[in-house]
């Protein structure tokens, strides 16, 4: 079982100056997000069926999106050149 990422780190610097530096403990928000998903699941399934016209897609879309979000754990992107730096990290 893969757990969702607990922390997200976003850092953007340009011209030597820090533009954005975010450290988000998203683990705190997961219980609330999970509760909202459970409440909104029936509406989401109906909306997916109306849009995609497929029961299979409507039922699988939500779980697969969640699986993809959980798989973000460990993603690391570092890009740096002379003028700017971008760092994205999910832990």
């Amino acid at each position: 079982m893969i757990l969702p990422p607990a922390v997200m780190r976003l850092y953007i610097a340009e011209g030597g100056k820090k533009k954005i530096s975010i450290w988000l403990p998203i683990i705190i928000a997961w219980p609330l997000i999970l509760a909202l998903l459970i409440i909104l699941a029936p509406i989401g399934i109906i909306a997916s069926y109306i849009y995609f016209r497929s029961i299979r897609t409507a039922l699988l879309l939500g779980p697969r999106i969640l699986t993809t979000i959980c798989a973000l754990r460990g993603l690391k992107v570092n890009v740096a050149d002379a003028d700017s730096k971008v760092r994205i990290y999910f832990a």
Partner: protein, 140 residues
């Protein structure tokens, strides 16, 4: 002192090579050892967890460095999510890929082939070193 370094110094002492040649050989040996040290030892076949792409580009004058680590689990999840793309949208994507010269038919990438694809990626190692630009792609 490694055997290779000793051999180079012995050749220099015996005047088989001059100082410039010895220096070039030692520099090449250091680069090779450095690249070998950086190469990760895979845990075992099929146990790799991340796809790593590193680019070190000094050729453009901007000294750009890129280091991306993608969890292989994300590739699995992305391919499974991609299997839900509606048929007409998938056809448009295939056309767009074709226009860019990328011949990939997403209909042929099925979730049951994912493990085979990931296993193949685990054996993938790309090392490009060209006039100030270094590109490495590997699984760890």
């Amino acid at each position: 002192m490694s055997d290779e370094r000793r051999k180079i110094l012995d050749m220099l002492a015996q005047e088989k090579i001059n100082v410039d040649e010895a220096e070039r050989l030692l520099a090449a040996l250091e680069n090779l050892q450095h690249a070998t040290n950086l190469s990760p030892v895979p845990l075992s076949k099929g146990k790799s967890r991340y796809l790593r792409v590193t680019v070190d580009d000094k050729a453009s004058g901007q000294d750009t460095q890129v280091d991306i680590r993608v969890p292989l689990q994300l590739l699995r999840a992305g391919i499974k999510l991609g299997s839900l793309i509606p048929k007409d949208a998938r056809q448009k994507m295939d056309l767009a890929f074709d226009e860019k010269g990328f011949n990939l038919d997403l209909n042929n990438v099925k979730p049951e082939n994912i493990e085979e694809l990931i296993e193949g990626l685990s054996d993938l190692t790309v090392n490009v070193d060209d006039a100030g630009t270094k590109v490495r792609i590997f699984c760890e």
